[in-house]
Amino acid sequence: MSSDTKFHVHHDAPEVVGRRERLGVRILIVADGSFLFAMIFTYFYLRNLNVNDGWIPKGGHTFSAASGWMSILPLVVAAIVHKFGQRNIKQIGNFSIITLLAYLYGAYYQFHQMSNMPFIVKDTHAFEGSYASTWVLIAGANMFHYILAAFIALGLVIRARRASVDPTLEKWRMRTASSWFTWIAIAGVICAVTTSMI
């Protein structure tokens, strides 16, 4: 995705280029997975350590588990829609619009959540405890996923409307995008499961 080798100087076949791009994206997913691991590790480590009773201090606020699931629902919906859309390459433009809208809604929802965080201390603007800290980190990563996915979905929407785009390679692009969309949906579910255990 990030590298366009369609008319690359060494003229590889679209099939080869497509596979290679998907491989590249999957390796980057490993990196993103490690990022996710570090966040989840942080969550459970601080939760179990509960230094100075600071995970959720006395009188502290939390988000409900349901709100965590709500914020990642669009990720799952979009990934499923994209999977279906991929089967019918001619209709991909329409499917991608749904995907794009789902991501945009998700980003909006996440932003809305983040701007209404209950656990910021009024006077100091500090976070109440380590639950609050970790929550905002995970939400931020989720937000990053939404924005990046919206960019890709927007590209797919625009490109589907352009006749000039090579359909063979585009089919591979859909599969490559699918790898990423599926991964961020999985990552979202992992985050939601994690933040359910308050």
Binding site: S2, F7, H8, G24, I27, Y45, G54, R159
Partner: protein, 622 residues
Amino acid sequence: MTTLSQQVSNRPIPNPKKSLITRLNMGTGLIVGIAFALATYYSMQTTLDDATLNFQRNNQVLLATMFMWSIGFLVGIGAFIGPFRWLIGKDLTAEEQLYLAGDGQGIKRYFKYCTDHKVVGIQYLWGVIAMLAVGGSMAMMIRTQLAQPGAKFITPSIYNSLVGLHGITMIVAMIIVATGPFGNFIMPIMIGAADMAFPRLNALSWWVLFTAIPVLCSAWFLGGIPTGWTAYAPLSVQAGPGMNAFIATIIIFAVSTAVAGANITATVISMRAKGMTWNRVPIFVIGATISVALAVPAFPTFMVAMIQTAMDRTFLTGFFDSNVGGSGWLYAHLFWIMGHPEVYVILLPGVAILMEIVPVFVRKPLFSYTAAVVGFAGIAGLSVLVWAHHMYMSGWLPMLNGPFMVTTEMISIPTGLIFLVILGTLWNGKPWLKVPMLGVYAFLWNMLIGGITGLYLSDVPADNYLHGSMYVTAHFHYTLMGAALTGAVAGLSYWYPKMTGRMLNERAGYISFWFVQIGFQILYLGMFIAGAEGQPRRVSDYAQMYANSNRISTFGAYLIGTGFIVLLWAVIHSWRNGVIAPMNPWGAKTLEWTVPYPVPLVNFDTPPVVTSDPYGYGKAVK
């Protein structure tokens, strides 16, 4: 079905000379980057809420400025043209891609967003040389301060900053010292590929890294960092504004590493020449690939730790603040989950270069290719299970010290295989002691010392004494500098003819080698003694009783410094005036020696077909 070239010729060809791509270079990058940075700085200074803490506000402004500089530079140099053109469905044309590859642009392409892997390799080479020079000068300052007790040379503030910035500059430089120049320039040719898998990502990895350099330098003007390169929290949370530069550098560098790692791994997996099965891949390629493949999952944890530090400093979260439920141990975990794999990310390519060199200079096949691969894979696999040996003394769950001690000491088994491969290749051979080959012997000795001292450190009771002492410093310099950097320097002298078309000045090479290696032994012998005597590391001053060992060390350091200046002279001088190199000066059998200098844009006129492994040296044994 029409071929790709027909498709290209069937469409109207836009003139690339008129497009935006041709106008962008490092200069526009600097202009846009600085403009972004200034705009961010002043707009945030004026708009930010006055009620927030000053400490918090300063950090917000500085971090945003640094990131916007990086993004601005990348916009200015044209890094986002490709993704943007993809977004709007107007993919780059073949002409534009050819232009991006720097076709026929001479010296200018080195200052552009150039996708040619050979250009990126040279850019990395000079980047690394610059970083090593800066980091080395800092080491000279550190040793000058420690030449005598009493802290007579510089203040503790400056000293602590020097220690930290020397550390991080060197770590960054060492991570890319082999995979940057050689992984980009040599490796694609070695596997018979025309370019990297993702040429634009390749350029991106270099230029992203480039934007981190001024950010790191800015730490000096923001009061330095007091934390050392490990940046342990909560010390890093209370540190002054210079810390922001450190945080931004790591985050930017982690992006670069992920991109470069994905690119190199994908290249080796998907772009090998016809016939190059996995058991015919040159060992350097294996080592470098395992190294970057290890870096891909390792670095994000450091990035997360740094993002958390930044959040603690800017948004007053409490990841590391124990008053609100955070813990410094969390930082240590995240850091060392990256940190210990990272030392092998540094070591493996250096070792792999030496393994590539030995067969050529003793004219024997590489001994037990399988053992080499198993050794690399074993080290990489175990390295992710040993991080807590840095935390034996932290008080974190002491009952886990035993298991981590076992995994750590097990690493000596695959490391032994690495030794065996090199020794087996040397065995009964008549080594040709050219400059690259000298590195192999230096490696054997240095890694031996580094490895055995590592055994003491991995042992919990012994680490009770040695942890955090100068002994540790000496140990990891033996492995990182004595082994990995020695490998990289050997690689430079080995591939210099292919990268520059000229031979590296041999006499200067010998002089530099002996200065560096002798100085190295003196420096770290002194440091081992100081550590055994009980001198903690990272101290700006020490008691009188350590004066002698430290004086010895400083003397050794000056020898090393001189040796590297000689090497730098040799590199620059030979680049311009060296003897013109033949196509294959060492008589090696890997593919990179079959292409002429200058290497053509697509490397091979006809794609090579590989029929055997590249180590078919020697006479058959009866």
